[in-house]
Symmetry: C2
Subunit: 913 residues, 2 copies
């Protein structure tokens, strides 16, 4: 293979390229990187650089780029040859700023080593703190800090963390030694341990390491390289892979490694560590929100082991504002500076070492959907954002949270405990006490609430499977709280009123209520309430307040029309309430499974001749007509796309012998005759069989009945003053000729009906585009169609040669192996299927500029797909009623993102999609 | 719909367009049309015009164009408004030339009205002769001809033909009247009827018409319009539709109508009618070949009712050469003129009226494959054609005839009767006596020989279903002979030594042999022999003689490489004998169905873990290795593409409970376990399921075994001095990543094997392109592939959304309705699937100019598809061994047809494919 045209920064061919820059330094108010270099430096590294440039106090350090990670995995876990020199030079730079030396026995520089991918993957990857300590440097640290206890506490923490994270030792052995010592000394808290106790513990830790063959190296350089290797290694551990899969993060992005001077929140009672948000991430309220712990390291806050103290709010006595007003003021300044700089709510980590503030991290903060909406709206009102910017700040997928029901305010509730309102929304389910059970119960269709003392990254699958999460420990920034908010799962965290017994699988509350495994529990994540039993829920109000305001901007900005897929009056009404501008897909086959109708449907299928079929169809017509009248009335004034019968007829026949017998008796046929007919309809690959427009071409009478039902309904509705816009859609066409044959049946039927009734109604005829051939021949099809509905589900199945029913396991494997990043049935395969969609749109417009182009199916409600459809020049997307607000927002965001672009910009030869 | 841009000659919008030319005249040495206007005037009309221009004696007339036919069917069976005037003007022109007047009672002009489509559809459509006769004009004809008997014979023929063809009367009623009269008068022959008899017969015919309500109009103009309408009507009768379907003729081509001055071969004993060929259409010999009948009309020769006399060959006493030497010489001049003009063998019809020669038709003559080859080779040797022109003269599909076996010359044969050698080749089958039986028996898998007194267009389906055809009546140009030659079906026609009893379903011969229904019969169509019993057949020799010479030119000219699809040694050997240049597809799955192996295959599938699978695979390896060694030895020096296991694993499991029980016992499993495993492998749409490259990705050990088997076989063969070029092909890929994963398994396995054996062998890895996504991403796939094999079968299934297994009936319906002209699984859907193939080729070359591109599957042996592949820039096609010579010829023809073109000429925006 040739290497021509491969840029020098491309790491995949790194073995050949020797001049790449792999390391970016920052510190002392300057930095080689900046916030725009997120892909190369990871989010954390980019923001550390940016904070330096903004003039904030950041411990100096350097970032090893994500390209080294890519190189590492492409080259059998080795590093570029010149990495070592670049790291040494960067360390020397930090030494110069700090006036200390790494691995120096007199004045040692210590490092933290942290991961940092393009997007935050909280708690997913590994961190090593206090790196650089050994039997010599610990003494120097004791001396320089004048605090021997602190030095040895740092050393034992380092040994424990390094053994766990880098060497893969069993953490319990170290925890056990710690607990044994506390027990032996009669201590309650870790802070009760003296310097001598900690020295002893260090020796015990080293002995454990010897015993299990996992010895922490004394050489700080060896420690550093092992730490870097551990971070890269953590990119490919199962939980990180799972996280990426759940969040559609490509495996080849890789992580960067940030090596940064250690500052110590645990250096004494004049030191602290904290996490804060520039606004409340749960409600969106414009207050300085956060938590800190005196004399602690950062991990202590996040891990949720000690319950931290609040940042501001006077009068509680333990707030930072009250304890250290000048530091609080300094932090308020940082908050203002960063929020103004990034124009977004910031999530910050800081450490106070002997009264000096250091900023360790800032990033755009995760937030609940409710908070996102409130912040976006208020920031516009504050003049910080434009409407366009504001709507970009609410994750379209996140919006889902606001659309789901809340606990019925009128229902009687027995609140059995309260905790922190960590992630809003109502959840109702049966109690389970570990993540595995949550997954197992959910797999059986049970709704569950996961109840834990605290959660860890291993629990992520179980949290995903749960309706809601309850924890006994941890604050608003604990693992459970952060992850639940990210997932949109309601969560009450840190409830000190509950007591969990994992062995008995029970939760007892201070009020004396005991919840056993399987008992129903409800929770209100917005209020932090845990409630006994199964509380009814009600729909959220989405049309008023901040949400209503935001959505009014969304509707101003978006250019895509949003319709819904609905065939029942309930769904249609829900869609209209949620702002749908029509029905983009009414699947008529769903209407035939009703008990009243299936018998006639089967009679139609089993008929030996056209006369028999027509008789059965005549009985079905009144039902169909009523279906359509219901839809037309609800959708008064809006278009309704009705798709002709699509599935193979055998789908309507019974499967079991008993049902067949019953049917045979009802039809006056022998069982054998029914079986034979069912057999003759059987197909090897029904997905590619006798369905779609192939049905009306062979059985025109079905299409005639449906046309009559649609148009009679329309005429009757118009007589009642309803404005009806029926659009009849022909499925599975692959050529103009097929569409013409079916259109002719429809038009002929309509003409006869209009003549017999002496009344007319306007209607349109269009085609689904759901076969590759239809996309390829879209220019010809467009000559006979007034609209296209892209059926991207089937188009994906045929283009990829993958049946959704058969390839679930393979798709999992494919996503794990990076063949597809996202599930192509959930988010459109832009590069493959998308190429056909784009081509079809361009061809359709070339031959029929007025054609109305839309998408129905799963992809119509997926924000990433909607963004793509915007670039194709679609007129509308249609999705499930519940996704309509999500689609509205996603459409507006797509309109902003692609403002000023032309569809032609995306022609295959010009720009890759 | 707008009409902009629709040309004036487009008939589809005819209602709006008033200035079209619908009628083209010819006569007296000039014509408005010429031979190039076949699409507009039909083949017959175009050649009538051309013969005029060449200066041959042609009865004047005019052609109503095929566009009128299209208009007729698009406009509810009405004509363009201005057609009437154009026909009247054309009739006036003919009247002027002939000095007679249509519908004139004194000197009437009479017309023949005949169909004429773009391509000849012999006997498929209707003809009316003697049009213009009525009670008045018949008297004028009697007077002007001085032959009352002739005039009334013409009138009664006209009445009979018009009643049949135009009015749809039951022909038997008229035949009965004729037979009754002959019986009453004691006549044997029609020619025994006197003028008075015929006058009487005319009255009887008119009475029949009155009685059944089908009265022939007296007004000649009414006759003319009815005749034209009947020809257009005959375009859509069942037998014409069937014929078009069998011959891939689009229904929208339409037919032209030729209205031509009548000349009379039945005007007396100085008159005759004949059909002749400029060379022998059965053998290709350069002799003037033909038949004529004195005092007869043209239909008498074609219908095969009277056995005609030969054209040339002195000494027989009844040849035209002996009877009328000057006319014979005139015909020889015509023959030479036309063959030189058209540079091809001509099929001509002529009539002699009172000693004057008239040419009624000429066209390139149908011929047997053997004749086509001989003529092509001899015309090159005569200097008439170039090699390039010559190879275009042999129908690639027709070649099939020469490749099929002939009767073993060494076998003992009892020749029970002889007839005319009407269509060469050997046929062996069981006797049936009607077309319906032939189709029914063939549908059950029986080989049949159809035995009839004569055949008619209604018998075409039965002829198609038969191995061979035998008739008791009719010459070399009878219906049976012409159609059988066209189909490549062996035929012995006009055997006067056989006697058929339809009631008893027997054929008895003069030699006293009786063949009953179901008895075995053999025939040699090249020798005209009918032989008792089932004679063994032997392969034809295709490498010597004219055939060998032609194929050597073919190989000089073609640019496409021809490979074969083969996995058995027998097929591979056959392919090599037929000139294959490698194996383009060896389907390894076929190798596992052998009784010795299926047990291990099933053990592999049923294994619960990888170890169990590996154990079973280890047992399969020696078999696979031997398979590949066999192939490599036969293909010594030529490439062999081996496709990895492709089908879903459940295809290898038994279906019946009994077989499952047996398998369970053998495996030491319970029946339930086997059932459960089979069930878990069951797929809703196996075509889109867990197969292709999805197998090695989930079960790499299968791919490892196959790689080892291929490469061990290759190494062992090389040690024996065999040159091996193995190409390992990965099926069903849709992305580069999938190919990379499998390629990595192959390369890693190969490296291990080479290291362990201390020997290497060159191999290539490539990808099937059989999913739309693979075609769309061909540029990326090509970066990892050394070759592509287009699997156009599966690509057609996915692009069209049509499973071959499920849509046979729909495809028939689709072809009948014009959705697809040809079966898209037999001949590639150029406009749809072809667009993807072309795109993939262009993309592949853009990223990997050296990639080797080929096609396997049905389309690889289809001449029309091969022509298309030539334009895509393919490197090879691969087809079944038997099709290899056909593919070689088709490839050479494609090379000639597209000489000087570039692949880029076909870019979607430049030129439609």
């Amino acid at each position: 293979m040739s290497c021509e045209g491969v840029g020098l920064t491309k790491a995949t061919k790194g073995a050949i390229i020797t001049m790449s820059k792999w390391v970016y330094t920052f510190g002392n108010g300057s930095a080689e990187g900046d916030a725009s270099m997120r892909n190369l430096l990871g989010g954390k590294g980019a923001n550390l650089a940016e904070m330096n440039k903004v003039g904030l106090p950041v411990p100096p350090g350097f970032t090893v780029t994500t390209e080294v990670c890519t190189y590492y995995y492409n080259n059998n876990k080795t590093y570029p040859a010149d990495l070592k020199d670049q790291v040494r030079a960067a360390v020397a730079g930090v030494e110069k700023i700090m006036g200390k030396k790494f691995a120096d026995a007199d004045n040692p520089l210590l490092f933290s080593v942290r991961s940092g991918a393009r997007v935050s993957m909280p708690g997913m990857m590994d961190t090593v703190l206090n790196l650089g300590l050994n039997d010599e440097t610990v003494k120097a640290l004791a001396k320089s800090s004048g605090n021997e206890r602190f030095a040895y506490d740092s050393y034992r923490r380092f040994l424990q963390m390094f053994s766990d994270v880098v060497l893969g030792a069993d953490l319990d052995l170290y925890e056990e030694a710690l607990e044994n010592m506390k027990k032996a000394r009669g201590y309650k808290l870790d802070t009760d341990l003296t310097a001598d106790d900690l020295k002893e513990l260090v020796n015990q830790y080293k002995a454990i390491g010897e015993k299990i063959g996992k010895v922490v190296p004394q050489d700080p350089w060896e420690q550093l390289w092992a730490g870097i290797g551990a971070v890269f290694g953590s990119w490919m551990v199962d939980r990180a892979i799972t996280y990426r899969k759940l969040n559609n993060i490509p495996g080849d992005w890789g992580t960067a490694v940030n090596v940064q001077t250690m500052v110590f929140g645990n250096a004494g009672d004049d030191s602290a560590t904290g996490v804060c948000f520039s606004r409340d991430p749960a409600t969106g309220e414009n207050v300085y929100y956060g938590e800190y712990l005196v004399n602690a390291q950062g991990e202590d806050v996040v891990a949720g082991i000690r319950t931290p103290q609040p940042m501001g709010s006077k009068g509680q006595g333990n707030s930072l504002e009250e304890l250290w007003p000048h530091l609080y003021q300094e932090l308020v300044d940082v908050r203002n500076k960063l929020e103004t700089h990034y124009k977004d709510m910031q999530d910050m980590e800081f450490t106070i070492e002997h009264g000096k503030l250091w900023m360790l991290q800032c990033r755009n903060g995760k937030r609940t959907a409710q908070a996102a909406v409130r912040m976006a709206v208020e920031m516009v009102e504050e003049g910080m954002l434009t409407k366009e910017e504001a709507i970009m700040r609410v994750g379209a997928d996140q919006l889902d949270q606001l659309l789901h029901p809340m606990l019925d305010p009128k229902a009687k509730k027995n609140v059995i405990a309260t905790g922190l309102p960590a992630s809003p929304g109502a959840a109702v389910g049966r109690a389970v006490f570990c993540a595995e059970d949550a997954e197992a119960w959910a797999a059986k269709g049970e709704k569950v609430i996961l109840i834990r003392n605290e959660t860890s990254p291993e629990d992520i699958g179980g949290m995903h499977a749960s309706q809601g999460v309850i924890t006994a420990r941890g604050g608003m920034t604990s693992h459970a709280a952060v992850v639940a908010r990210g997932m949109g799962t309601p969560c009450v965290s840190g409830s000190q009123e509950i007591h969990i017994d994992y062995t008995k699988k029970t939760m007892s509350t201070d009020k004396g209520v005991v919840i056993k495994e399987g008992d129903w529990v409800s929770l209100d994540g917005g209020k932090g309430q845990i409630i006994e039993g199964q509380i009814p829920t009600v729909k959220a109000d989405t049309n008023t307040g901040n949400f209503g305001k935001l959505m009014s901007w969304v509707d101003e900005i978006r250019t895509l029309e949003i319709r819904a897929n609905a065939e029942t009056p309930r769904d249609a009404q829900q869609a209209r309430d949620f702002g749908a501008e029509g029905i983009g897909l009414a699947r008529t086959e769903h209407m035939f499974f009703d008990a009243n109708r299936i018998a006639d449907m089967r009679a139609m299928i089993l008929s030996k001749d056209e006369a028999g079929r027509r008789a059965a169809l005549a009985r079905l017509l009144p039902y169909q007509k009523q279906d359509f009248k219901d839809l037309f009335k609800i959708m008064n004034g809006l278009p309704v796309v009705i798709r002709l019968l699509d599935p193979p007829l055998h789908e309507f026949l019974p499967n079991t012998e008993a049902e067949m017998k019953e049917l045979a008796d009802k039809m006056g046929m022998s069982l054998d005759e029914v079986k034979q007919r069912a057999n003759s309809l059987h197909e090897a690959n029904p997905m590619l069989g006798h369905r779609g427009c192939r049905l009306p071409i062979t059985y025109p009478e079905i299409c005639e009945m449906q046309t009559n039902a649609i148009l009679e309904a329309a005429i009757e509705c118009e007589a009642e003053g309803i404005k009806v816009l029926p659009e009849i859609e022909v499925p599975l066409t692959g050529s103009k000729k097929e569409l013409d044959i079916v259109k002719d049946i429809i038009d002929t039927t309509a003409a006869k009906l209009f003549a017999s009734l002496g009344k007319k109604v306007e209607y349109q005829v269009g085609s689904m585009i759901e076969l590759p051939r239809a996309a390829l021949k879209a220019d010809e099809l467009a000559q006979s169609a007034e609209f296209f509905g892209f059926g991207t589900n089937d188009l994906t199945q045929t283009t990829l040669g993958m049946s959704r029913d058969d390839t679930g396991a393979i798709l999992d494997e494919y996503r794990a192996r990076g063949v597809y990043v996202a599930d192509p049935f959930a988010s459109i395969d832009v590069e493959g299927v998308g190429m056909l969609v784009r081509l079809a749109c361009a061809k359709a417009r070339s031959s029929n500029p007025k054609i109305w182009l839309g998408v129905c199916g799963e992809h119509g409600g997926d924000p990433a797909s909607i963004d793509f459809f915007q670039t194709c020049g679609m007129n509308y997307v249609s999705c499930s009623p519940f996704r309509v607000p999500v689609a509205r927002l996603a459409a507006a965001q797509a309109a902003v993102r692609h403002k000023g672009e032309k569809v032609e910009d995306y022609c295959c030869c010009k720009k890759s999609a």
